[in-house]
Symmetry: C2
Subunit: 319 residues, 2 copies
């Protein structure tokens, strides 16, 4: 039985990962400041998951929290998922991504070095790539992020790569696409559902609906990252995670939400080509490396959206 520390484990992806690790018979400790994550997500995991409420952007707090867990059960692997997930907020105030995305990584690395913990998994993002020039981004391509969110994720990757040289033993970095599913805490589907809850007549969409992005369902994402953890032999293992298509249009997501939740509503699009400053309107990236390792998705982007819309509509109806 191994002990996994998941930072941000009370959030959307973290809670799903925790469940899978628990199902496999391992022990899970979660560090979360409960800013977006919730106790309810942890309670749903049942026994075996331990929550420590701590803000890992604060160096002193995270170091004390590590010390306590190391003393009681030890930590075999760290999954660093804690980060700001509100991209527009980070564009208007760079301090948000500095604190919640960059400094959390810095502090986790310092604590791991101090306690001699060698294995780190990191949730990065397709947003590190920035604007598409041509073709699909591979892991060998340059990264030119256009949001502070993408910048601080890339900055975190850079710190981690350097730490592998001096203190870590094994690193997996996963560049996530847009991820959907339950428990929904943020994202385009939840936004649309909540807008329709406030105004049943019209769904107002940011941007002109032509933004096209790849989506992955959280169940497949967790399956894929656990596959990489098991099968990759590289000490620094960097993978794009995603579907094998070029994504779905925002307009198609809006229609899916409308059709499932509020069939009579009309949809009003904005004029801009992008949803907000720092939004990457269109991109696709290559998942050939992941396929070569042996994992391929069952879902298309549209499959993932359809399932997640049904799930989120159910979640919001139950509130």
């Amino acid at each position: 039985m191994r002990t996994h520390l998941i930072t941000g484990g009370a959030g959307f992806i973290g809670a799903n990962l925790a469940q899978s690790l628990l199902n496999a018979g391992d022990r899970v400790v979660i560090f979360d400041n409960l800013s977006r994550g919730s106790r309810r997500n942890i309670e749903a995991l049942g026994s075996g998951a331990e929550l420590v409420v701590v803000d890992i952007a604060q160096h002193v707090s995270v170091d004390a929290a590590f010390e306590k867990v190391v003393a009681s059960s030890g930590i075999d692997e760290v999954w660093h998922l804690a980060a700001n997930s509100d991209i527009p907020a980070g564009v208007s105030d760079p301090n948000i991504d500095l604190r919640d995305t960059f400094l959390t990584t810095f502090n986790v690395l310092l604590a791991m070095k101090r306690h001699g913990i060698g294995t780190l998994h990191f949730a990065s993002t397709s947003a590190v790539y920035g604007l598409q020039v041509s073709g699909a981004f591979s892991e060998l391509d340059a990264t030119l992020p256009i949001s502070n969110y993408g910048a601080m994720k890339l900055a975190s990757e850079a710190q981690i790569r350097a730490a592998l040289e001096s203190s870590l033993e094994r690193v997996n970095v996963f560049r996530f696409p847009n991820v959907v599913g339950l428990p929904a805490t943020h994202g385009v589907i939840l936004d649309f559902v909540r807008k329709l809850q406030l105004n049943e007549g019209t769904l107002d969409v940011l941007g002109n609906g032509t933004q096209r992005k790849p989506y992955m369902h959280v169940s497949e994402l967790v399956e894929a990252i656990l596959f990489v953890r098991e099968h990759s032999k590289e000490s620094y293992s960097l993978y794009n995670m995603g579907p094998e298509d070029e994504g779905v249009l925002v307009s198609a997501i809006a229609e899916e939400v409308r059709n499932q939740f509020c069939p009579n509503a009309s949809i009003a699009f904005g004029k801009e080509d992008f949803g907000w400053v720092g939004d990457v309107p269109r991109f696709s990236y290559s998942t050939a490396k992941l396929a070569k390792l042996g994992w391929r998705p069952q879902y298309s982007s549209m499959n993932a959206i359809q399932r997640a819309v049904a799930e989120v509509v159910g979640q919001e109806a139950a509130r």
Copy 2:
């Protein structure tokens, strides 16, 4: 007459840049904490250069310093050169590069946004690339730094790219190779000269001497960055700066210093393939983009080393 702010302008490259900008008839304001830079370097510039002693890793200080300069003369362009330049120090204590390389950039960007300054030039490094897999790195290749120095420079690039999307108007990012010349404040030539001053009989070299790196003389480096400033039409302009060869061996640098400074000394090499943890033992990168823009160096790496050894020997003899 334009006003240039140079952070780290009392240091090696900054002082050379300041001199060139002054020679062109512009005004120069320098922010420096004088940790490696010195008042003597500023005095050598003559009138026209103003020094403000400030630690730009401290948000409050840098903001006040910007305010004062903006109120008196305005700032047309910012050259952000301030950074930790001691790579091994940053490997053993990550806080050094966090503070002096990463947070200085963060604070400069915040101040530029606040004061509506649109043009930024940034001194980055070939160390962002990390270990060579095959061929020469181009600006389109992935970056996997193996030192905190390289990581925090890449993290700075990422922040700057994102800031261009929301507040900056024009950015030049220069990835420097190893740079040599006067006033020497650090680096392999000065290390070797000082070792020979302490021990005339033997020059002890870190690593086995087979590390091979490209070198550029500071006079050509400044010429090249001013060329890019004048000729590049991209809003985000990223250039590898360097010679058009694969570099020189550390053993050749050691021999050059020995021959010029202490001809009877013997040279003792270490056993490791690298000089220190985080050292990139061998790399070359492509300067084809710079050549395409129209600038090509006159010096080879070895020419740059030969000239700089003579200069540094002179500097140290005069101390």
